[in-house]
């Protein structure tokens, strides 16, 4: 069920609401489209790439733009209410300010874009890829192409990738892929893992923790979390991230089974609506078109159907906006 025929209505609305390029429209109507194809996996092998150190940043306009991008990457909340409408920062899921291998480091992303992405069925520039993070992971609205926030972040990524090869997938890119386990991913087992390993930081209700206005531990579900369109809502993506990066400071300490289970538990909770729901008539259509992957969108859990709501979190745009 991974192949879907796109509809003209949907494509047109997508372009209007998600700022996609007209290239998507130019493609033949009725062509089979796969919205689920991920980028090819990173190659195995030793991580050898070394990102430059910030102490070597030049004191010029380029260096200043890198610093601005770094600040936005670490403290993305500075764009709250403008482009960010949840409580996340880029560095929550890209540890060490986007530098850490196997934590989806930016130095390994920079050179693989432009790339075809099944998610929106077109070739994405790096700029568009970052905009996608704002739409989904930040439950926000993308900074316009060429705007300072976007230029600053791209410049930060560019500097971090100094010396990295272009158009070559590097070891350490993305999150290492976990093999499926015989027992599958189980929310009930995951609840126990969560209570024992995660709640101390992320809270009993996944609400995260703040000090004053400052987010310290990000929310994992609810309005402050990534929305139903973000990559992290997929159980496999979350399991991969968790295994290699969580609990913080204890990478690879959970068993594969624990990582799968706790990912299922976390992502079996409600979160802001998938923005693409605005482009389609029903939850069923949205589920069938965009959610043919390992996730709980549209599934009934504890007597309630996940994603069956018009709650877009703090995002100011209504369902038909």
């Amino acid at each position: 069920m991974s192949l879907r025929t796109s509809r003209p209505l949907m494509a047109a609305t997508l372009v209007a609401t998600l700022a996609l390029s007209p290239a998507a429209l130019a493609q033949d109507e009725g062509v089979e489209r796969d919205y689920q194809i991920p980028l090819p996996e990173a190659p195995e092998g030793e991580v050898t790439f070394q990102a430059p150190h910030e102490r070597d940043l030049p004191d010029n306009q380029y260096g200043d733009m890198v610093r601005k991008g770094r600040d936005l990457f670490v403290n993305t909340q500075s764009l709250r209410g403008e482009y960010v409408y949840n409580e996340q920062n880029c560095a929550n899921c890209h540890l060490d300010a986007g530098r850490l291998a196997n934590s989806a480091p930016m130095w390994a992303s920079f050179g693989v874009y432009p790339a075809y992405r099944g998610k929106n069925d077109k070739v994405n520039t790096l700029s568009e890829r970052i905009q996608g993070c704002f739409t989904y992971s930040m439950n926000g609205t993308p900074p316009p192409t060429g705007s300072e926030p976007l230029v600053a972040m791209q410049t930060y990524l560019h500097w971090m990738s100094t010396g990295a090869p272009i158009n070559e997938s590097l070891p350490g890119r993305g999150y290492p892929k976990l093999e499926a386990t015989e027992q599958g991913a189980d929310r009930a087992r995951g609840a126990e893992v969560y209570a024992a390993q995660c709640a101390v930081c992320h809270g009993d209700e996944g609400q995260g923790q703040t000090v004053g206005e400052r987010q310290v531990f990000p929310p994992l579900w609810g309005d402050g979390a990534y929305n139903w369109g973000a990559g992290m809502h997929r159980v496999n993506t979350a399991a991969n991230f968790i295994k290699a990066n969580m609990p913080l400071g204890k990478p690879y300490s959970l068993t594969d089974q624990q990582a799968w289970d706790v990912a299922a538990f976390i992502n079996g909770h409600e979160r802001p609506q998938d923005p693409r729901r605005r482009t389609l008539e029903t939850l069923e259509e949205t589920d069938a078109t965009f959610h043919n992957h390992h996730g709980f969108y549209g599934d009934e859990i504890d007597g309630r159907r996940l994603g069956d709501h018009a709650d877009f979190g703090e995002s100011p745009r209504p369902l038909d906006g």
């Binding site: 991580v47 150190h53 910030e54 102490r55 940043l57 610093r67 770094r70 600040d71 670490v74 403290n75 909340q77 500075s78 540890l95 060490d96 300010a97 530098r99 850490l100 291998a101 126990e192 209570a195 024992a196 390993q197 709640a199 101390v200 930081c201 009993d204 923790q209 000090v211 004053g212 206005e213 400052r214 310290v216 531990f217 609990p247 913080l248 400071g249 204890k250 990478p251």
Partner: protein
């Protein structure tokens, strides 16, 4: 929410975090209400080291006594229970902790928690200076492959002022005490941290980093006050 926090604190105390829900359901492990006035009576034995004002003392040539005033009550309470139970070995503290029953522990914890507020430090984002190794470790960590040390502030909060009842404030604590605790985690004599979150980090810190970061946090409130003093004057103009 308060009830949930207290319940989960007790759960951690008993090492039963994973079954806290069942403990709550069966009504076990009700937290004791601490009373600061009773706590003052029970704290008579504490003042010799922790001082009448609860500020403790840094002793560069001996054992430093931590500041207690303003620490979260649940944190103090857990530490006292852990010392009694040997999860936090302390030859100095053990006899005193053993003199206190559960109610007295709750009471002295409330007493010191209410004695003075822990310094509130700025929470606004400030980029770390890449030339300042201590500031970098505190704000950005040391993610080299053989270190994998998260930034201290990632758990202890902005400027290390503490997060909730579990992650204690570091800024404004005595350097000698902070250093001794990091050493205690390394040699295993302190093993009362949730999920060994701190033990692993402490093991991967080197001696120079430990001395450096202890000094950084001990002096941070003063350093921040100096840094912000001129700009606040400017703001006033």
């Amino acid at each position: 929410m308060t009830i949930i926090r207290i319940a989960s604190g007790v759960g951690l105390l008993l090492g039963l975090a994973s079954v806290q829900a069942s403990a709550q359901a069966s009504g076990q492990a009700q937290p004791l209400e601490g009373d600061a006035e009773r706590g003052q009576q029970a704290a008579g034995v504490c003042v010799a080291c922790h001082q009448a004002d609860g500020m403790g003392m840094d002793n560069p040539n001996g054992e430093s006594w931590p500041r207690l005033a303003g620490l979260p009550a649940a944190y103090i309470e857990k530490q006292l229970h852990d010392i009694k139970a040997g999860r936090r070995e302390s030859a100095t503290m053990m006899p005193f902790a053993n003199m206190l029953d559960d109610q007295q522990i709750a009471d002295v914890s409330a007493y010191y928690a209410e004695m003075a507020a822990w310094p509130t430090l700025p929470t606004a984002y400030q980029p770390a200076d890449p030339e300042d190794a201590a500031e970098w470790l505190a704000n950005r960590g040391d993610w080299a492959e053989d270190s994998m040390i998260p930034a201290c502030n990632q758990c202890h909060g902005p400027n290390g002022q503490g997060v909730g009842d579990v992650f204690p404030p570091l800024a404004g604590q005595h350097a000698g005490y902070l250093e001794a605790q990091l050493e205690a985690w390394r040699d295993g004599s302190r093993h009362n941290d949730p999920n060994q979150l701190m033990a692993g980090v402490a093991e991967r810190l080197d001696e120079a980093q430990i001395a450096m970061i202890a000094d950084y946090y001990a002096t941070l409130p003063m350093a921040l006050a100096e840094r912000d003093a001129p700009s606040s004057e400017e703001d006033a103009q």
